[in-house]
């Protein structure tokens, strides 16, 4: 463990964060939101001074001696500190007067969850809304780089797989160096951002709305600057565009890279992608069926709302175009089940991840086959390659931990006397980085009524869920700290 190197890397990260704050600060200045501008400027100045001082002090420290353990700590600390600092403008400007709320809102942004404590979103100044959405975009990017380029090196719960589309002993990275991979992913991410923003503007949104919704979509976050979320626009075109981009953001970004470079074979063979699209299509069909006649009169409308809400839950975005709590129970249950699924590995989506569920499913089928053929040998195959036993163990461990954390958080929420639906879905939606839940945390409600200790617990759940459980939980292992 080398705390000096950690301090240095995190300081660099905070300076970059302060740099990004320049954007909403600019907007504040431009629109004359001086209180907001002061909050941003103050936060930026403070952060740059402190982080700058650390950097100057540690300028001789070389940053290339990180161990895997340092990596876990660094990733977790970065997410926490970035949220701590990112919450300051909300707090200083008085937009969110309580720091607990401000932190909840910010980590909800950086973890791309999209759960909000704001009752009236539209009351916030534009610059604050922009910052709120920007946290999604930054968090989404961070998570893609993390899951595609960094976590596999640490061997987190089956995620090694996302680089192993082609079987063989060599890890199939996109580029030979991590920085190269990260750069590539940035290009793809920015490319998607530009494309979606333009398409949304074609649909009649102004630049501000288009950008903020794009941030919310690509980060699979779900913050919208409108009280009625995407439903505000009531436009089939906008719903369609956002549905498509939510789905794209929920796909492994290394597949996007392969698709762009014309290597279709790994994309075509990808078991996770196939399962992901299949889940989307099947759920949309069932939800649309449940809506037909009762809620919407035409099949087209059913499909429009069903596909949007399905994509929103599957990719863990959390946008809403309708109050799905008023939908028939069949449709609601389908959406509820999707909360356990999540996006693909290496995407900005959260949740358990399709990859892990497919592996567990295939393992379960193999166990059944083994009962029929006790001496049979069955290998688990993903995307045409063999999945080794230790990956299956990693995934099983992840699944158990996920369930355990989910139940623990549910108990904490319920301890304040909230009903089962609210307690369970609040835990599920934060751990899965989705956003809305059911009951008192449904699409038209928010998280503001929760007690402070519950908000902190849910914030923790968002962090744990975002960082694939193991990254955070390993820090609580006593032997992690042993020399």
């Amino acid at each position: 463990m080398n705390p000096l190197i950690l301090a240095k890397i995190i300081s660099i990260l905070l300076v970059i964060l302060a740099g990004f704050m320049g954007l909403p600060a600019g907007i504040a200045l431009y629109r004359g939101e001086y209180a907001s501008f002061a909050a941003f400027a103050g936060t930026m100045a403070g952060t740059v001074t402190l982080a700058g001082a650390v950097l100057v002090l540690l300028r001789k420290q070389r940053a290339d001696a990180l161990t895997t353990r340092d990596g876990f700590l660094m990733v977790t600390l970065s997410w926490v500190l970035v949220s701590v600092i990112g919450a300051l403008p909300f707090f200083f400007s008085g937009c969110i007067p309580d720091y607990t709320d401000a932190f909840f809102e910010t980590i909800s942004g950086f973890s791309t969850t999209g759960a909000s404590i704001l009752t009236d979103v539209e009351a916030l100044p534009r610059s604050m809304l922009f910052w709120r959405s920007l946290t999604h975009w930054l968090g989404g990017m961070g998570i893609v780089v993390l899951t595609v380029a960094i976590l596999p090196l640490m061997g987190i719960g089956g995620l090694q797989l996302i680089q192993a589309e082609s079987p063989g002993p060599t890890v199939d990275r996109l580029t030979p160096r991590i920085t190269g991979t990260a750069k590539l992913l940035w290009f793809i991410y920015i490319g998607f951002t530009v494309a979606e923003t333009l398409l949304l503007m074609l649909g009649g949104m102004d630049l501000f709305d288009a950008l903020t919704h794009t941030f919310g979509t690509l980060g699979t976050g779900g913050f919208s600057p409108k009280n009625a979320s995407v439903g505000h626009y009531n436009s089939a075109y906008i719903d369609g565009i956002i549905t498509v981009f939510m789905l794209l953001a929920g796909i492994n970004f290394s597949l996007h890279y392969r698709l762009l470079t014309g290597r279709l074979r790994p994309v075509y063979r990808d078991s996770e992608l196939k399962a992901y699209l299949l889940i989307f299509a099947a759920t949309t069909a069932v939800v649309a069926f449940s809506l037909y006649g009762d809620v919407f009169p035409t099949a087209g409308e059913c499909l429009r709302y069903a596909s949007f809400q399905t994509a929103s839950f599957l990719t863990t975005t959390g946008f809403a175009t309708a109050n799905f709590e008023a939908w028939p129970l069949l449709g609601q249950i389908m959406l509820f089940i999707l909360m356990f699924v999540g996006g693909c590995s290496g995407s900005t989506g959260g949740g358990i991840k399709v990859m892990r569920l497919v592996i567990l499913f295939k393992q379960a089928v193999n166990e059944l086959k083994l009962l029929v053929h006790p001496r049979g040998i069955f290998t688990l195959k993903m995307s045409g390659g063999m999945v080794r036993k230790n990956i299956v163990y990693g995934v099983s461990g992840f699944f158990f931990l996920y369930a355990a954390v989910l139940l623990a958080v549910t108990v904490v929420v319920a301890s304040a006397g909230h009903d089962i639906t609210t307690s369970f879905t609040a835990a599920l939606t934060t751990l899965g980085n989705i956003g809305p839940g059911f009951g008192k945390v449904g699409p038209v409600e928010n998280f503001s009524f929760f007690e402070d200790y519950i908000k902190w617990t849910l914030s923790f759940a968002m962090l744990v869920g975002r960082l694939e459980l193991y990254t955070v939980l390993v820090i609580f292992l006593p032997r992690f700290w042993r020399k």
Binding site: H373, P374, R375, G376, I377, F378, T379, K381, M386
Partner: protein, 447 residues
Amino acid sequence: MRVVILGAGVVGMQVAAQLISEGKDVVIIEKDPERAKHVTGRLDCIVVNEEGTGITALKRSGIDRASIFISVTNSDEVNMIACGVVSSEFNVPVKIARVRNLDYSRAKITEKSFLGIDFIVNSEVETARQIANTIALGADSDVMLFENTDLQMRNIMVTPASYFADRSVKDIRLGIREPFLIAGIMRGKEFVIPTGGTQVREGDTIYLLATQKDFTKIFIQAGKKQETMDHIVIVGGGRIGELACQYLIRTGRDITIIETNYERCKVLSDKFPDALVLNADISDESIFEEESLGNRDLLVTVTDNQELNMLASLYAKTMGIKRSMALVTNANYMAIASRLDIDVVISPKNSTVDAIMKFIRRGNIKSLHSIFGGRAEVIEFLANEKSRIIGKRLRDLDFPEHSIILSIVRNDVNMLPHGNLAIEPGDLVIVITAKESIPEIERFIQE
């Protein structure tokens, strides 16, 4: 003629034995002293006990005077490098390497004369292909296919009730309308090339030559029913088993592979997700019950242990499997196996020997198969204008004893021979000949 063989494994020994019986001088290079001693005691040849890629060892083997260098060690890379060393340091006209890796075999190594290799042999591929072909044709008999014609050679075991029993070859031909030829008779350990007067006896295995279509009819007359072969058990997941599975699974058949080695099972189950791979020993009877193997159509045994192959095939038949097929390498066992209730006996097609023989007897020979561990050879050759057999009617040819013309292919049309047929230039002639007549037939062709 001197032949240097590198590697005294099973293939090396087989090739050496055959070449020695043909009167060639053989030198074997083998690095394992135990193995070298074993070979010295069994074969009439020189054994050099040294590492084969070394130039001194090659010199000591008298490679300067050798006409053929054959590298058949277990390592592809050693075989290829050895050929490379030989081609750069010595002047040996023919260099043959055994290469088992399919990637290498498919590469353009011989075309581009990489490392001076003239010929690549991979007997496992040939054997697996033979298994797949035989199964495609119903697995009711051994099948030998020829390259340039759609004729095939198959065997029938003569039972007492059989139409063929106790009749002369001439009578049998008169009695069946479909065009066919009796190419050979296996009687005990002896391989007989029949003449018109040869009597077929009960217990013989007769080798027939006909087209695929006609065989169906002939087999019905001989009392063998056609069966579909959709559910196949392959015993032994070695390279032959793996390749056979690869060929068979493409045709949509249901394949079960039984292999004792766990690691090997994992490889197979990874490679063939649609096949059922069982980690079990076929000699453990309970596996038949557990997996109800008796309900399958065919059991193919391709383990390294030929006795186990034969026994497992026999046992499978008693358990109710319709057909069984066994891989048997030893020529004496092959004779026994044909007389037991094993439907098909597969012998690893000795492509190494065939290739060498073809090189030795170059000229107009197009292809050559040695069968029954070298007891007979099927030779395909091209009749050229200068040959003295041109223009004469077959009945006037003084054809060597113990050999017959099986077929003449003219403009891609097969003709079964008859006395009035005359060979024309450009005809492809297929001849079967017993071992003792090979030199005579060679002379006959070359003149």
